[in-house]
């Protein structure tokens, strides 16, 4: 019996590893498109990508997978759900069932609508014309409801969509913890606004040459542990991190006039990159070697970007080198001014430009609205008004037009419903995990002050990265911190940081 199961397992793993050869090749096609592809090459690249995506889909829904899983489930090999083999069987079953439940014509309709809808969205945003985008959004929402119905769910159709990005999470739990975050965060942001304090922003006008920004960003990424023997840094319009293979992880950034933009983009993407680089390369392409969820992935990028990179201790180490790299631009700017500037909290209209406190309120707007859109409690006709009302309610500001309001993000047009909450889950995970790291490792600020980032990186490797998909995100957090996910560590961190800066309480 075991021998049959072992054969099935070997075949299942070979199949998955071969599929990973294609998926990683697809990643290269996409990375190249966004960083190197000559402008005229886009149409053919789209054909290459569609063709490879089709081959991958065929392989992932191959009925052989079902047969192998059938002979494995119930076998001793898969008995321990947290072993490598148990994880492999459980997670491949999960993905296989989801993928085979979706009718091919629905998958294609969503892909087609997503391309069209994004094109219309770009134009609608340019013209500040929601009406133009409205019918496409309506179609997309109908298709995503069909997708949820095909995938199946217990109470809430949004569950089925959320599960794509944050596997095994449930809408109710997420709504609960994000609701508590909202209720605690709003008064904090209000008291920051009420303090009337603002940093000196004149340094924003100074010149930080692009080449030196890149050199400095590379030093930072290297210092926190991103391995350039197994990775690259390139320039792109919309920054991202792509794991391209077991020892090939590529991050990108863009360069704005003020250096903080590239510094925080690079730290953020390097945080993602370190996760990918510390996955177990010997099981690359199998569930024990894959990242667990978007939320946990985001917790890694957010931790290095904010908890480390926006800390005062970090800059006690790095401000000297920054001044050496940009002597003119930093002249006459004391560390405290710089530190306040990179922690400048103020309600604003655009999510991707938001500070680390108000950011989660931007997410809450989107999460609550898209939940209602999918559930049917909100119509696409009423969406812009509902959006503006939420901004007024949560951030105290109202968008002057839909380009700065409901049309600002690509997600709705691309059909990425269920994606937004993973950004805030990432912040919550980061806070709770960072708190535990400090408990385990001692005074992290003191390490950062000395430029020591290896202990934290290794701790994250051992506690998170090495596990791959062995545990769900929720299990992982509880296993590491002894508690289920809560808003309290993040609130404690934010209060601890911003109370002194803004003279609160």
């Amino acid at each position: 019996m075991t021998s049959t199961a072992q054969t099935a397992l070997d075949q299942l793993c070979d199949h998955a590893r071969q599929t990973a050869l294609l998926s990683s090749t697809l990643s290269l096609l996409e990375w190249d498109e966004r960083t190197k592809l000559p402008s005229a090459g886009g149409d053919y690249r789209a054909e290459q990508i569609a063709y490879l995506a089709g081959l991958i889909h065929q392989r992932e829904t191959d009925p052989k997978i079902g047969h192998w899983l059938d002979s494995l489930e119930g076998s001793p090999l898969a008995a321990d759900r947290h072993s490598d083999d148990g994880t492999t069987v459980r997670q491949i079953r999960r993905e296989y069932d989801k993928k085979t439940r979706l009718p091919q014509d629905l998958v294609e309709a969503i892909a087609r609508t997503s391309v069209q809808s994004q094109q219309v969205w770009v134009e609608a945003r340019r013209q500040k014309d929601y009406a133009r985008f409205r019918p496409h959004l309506e179609v997309m929402i109908r298709l995503k409801r069909e997708e949820a119905a095909a995938l199946g769910y217990e109470d809430d159709p949004y569950d089925a969509l959320l599960d794509e990005y944050e596997p095994d999470a449930r809408t109710g739990q997420v709504a609960h913890v994000l609701g508590q975050l909202r209720d605690a965060l709003q008064p904090l942001v209000q008291s920051i606004v009420d303090s009337g304090r603002t940093p000196n922003r004149s340094i924003l006008e100074r010149s930080f040459p692009r080449d030196r920004q890149e050199q400095f960003g590379r030093r930072l990424a290297e210092q926190i542990g991103f391995d350039f023997n197994e990775g690259r840094l390139d320039e792109t319009v919309h920054p991202f991190c792509a794991g391209m293979g077991p020892r090939d992880t590529r991050i990108t950034t863009r360069y704005e006039p003020f250096v903080a933009s590239s510094i925080y983009t690079i730290l953020h993407e390097a945080g993602h990159g370190i996760y990918d680089q510390q996955l177990r390369s010997e099981v690359y392409g199998l569930p024990p070697g894959n990242a667990v969820s978007l939320g946990i992935h985001e917790s890694q990028s957010r931790m290095w970007e904010n908890f480390v990179g926006r800390s005062r201790a970090f800059w006690e180490h790095w401000y000297g080198p920054l001044q050496e790299a940009f002597p003119d631009a930093t002249s006459g700017v004391p560390l405290d001014d710089f530190y306040f500037l990179i922690n400048d909290v103020h309600p604003s209209l655009i999510r991707v430009e938001a500070d680390e406190a108000t950011y989660n309120l931007h997410i809450l707007v989107r999460f609550e609205l898209e939940h209602d859109l999918i559930g049917g409690g909100l119509s696409v006709d009423d969406l812009p008004e509902a959006w503006n009302a939420k901004y007024e309610q949560l951030l105290g500001i109202t968008p002057p037009d839909d380009a700065q309001g409901v049309l600002q993000d690509v997600h709705f047009s691309a059909g990425l419903f269920g994606y937004f909450p993973t950004y805030s889950l990432g912040n919550l995970y980061a806070a709770q995990i960072f708190e535990q790291a400090e408990r385990d490792l001692g005074d992290l600020a003191d390490m950062f002050r000395r430029g020591e980032f290896t202990p934290l990186r290794q701790w994250l490797g051992e506690n998170i990265h090495q596990h791959g998909q062995r545990y769900t995100a929720a299990e992982l957090v509880e296993r590491i911190t002894g508690k289920p996910l809560s808003h309290e560590p993040l609130m404690k961190y934010l209060r601890g940081k911003f109370a002194p800066l803004y003279g609160l309480k």
Copy 2:
């Protein structure tokens, strides 16, 4: 009847276009490996490449192709062998028969031996130790003879191997024209040596900053017609040109201290690139949209590199801009000195460093030896001695060791028997075609002097590139020039150029 044939043709073309989606993706994997891949990523990249190569081989030997061809051959669709459809049927038949004749275990044995043998060759060359490489070469030659036997040939097993790189060429014809070239070239080179003249080489020691070399090289490539909207230039150790898709052609170079190295690498690779860019993109992946042979491809790179880029007229236009880009390095160097230096002819040991006159003698050494190795007239034991004797005979110099002799090129170790002659065929084609271009277009030197390269580029597009594989290389040359390939145009060009420089006759 036609309707069945039309269906078969559509299916055959769809199949070929889909295979091209994979082949072009494979090109990206290879381009990336040679230009961007992080150092640790090589092992996995090799797996990705092997996997895609396997998928492509499966598709190219799919028995369905045989069935489609069977219903097409004899149909009116394929009646005109030079029409698009006729070309498609004829050329796919050609490739399908070749690929299906090779036993899978032989293909794998050659691939495996090639990897091992190249590794041993690198080490053997480093240690100047032919004995170490000898047994691997022996195995490779045995396998290549098996390959020739499996492919089939009339008189000469070398025919079957040559056909891989220069389709439809025959060893006898190639040996004849190269033999005539040898007999005419040797006395010319001898009289150049006897003249005792040499250029002033002191400029070689001056400094040409890398960034400005790149800028200057880009200007040159752009000016001769390489389209950067559909292409890129990157840095690499071993320069190459890769057609990555219908509107995506990438060239690479390396940067040496003296600027001529990057200038001529870029002009050479841009010459290849212009061929790829001027293929018909609407039939990309089908024989009418593919390049005809390595020899014709090389004729395009050699034409732009040598016939254009090493002409005095070219530098009458470009020497001013070169002096502006490198004022210190060119100071006190008159145009005539620079022109003589980039046309410095002298027998040397290393093929890739050879000038345009002696280069073909290096090729003749290799062609005659590898022909004998495959034919059985020369044993691997006697190869180094035979190599040195040929160098003494053809170039009047003897390698001091095998690293500068028989071990200098990768080709034998990689099993690329039949490849070398295409380099000289390229030079011969270039001369004969360039002569005709001048007949058709008028005084080309006068155009180059004015910086006008568009007429030549368009003429090449109309007469060569647009035809794809409609004609064989031999047919194409005869069609364009009205004569079969001959050594005379090249000899006339070389004498015309070098007689005044070296004060001959």
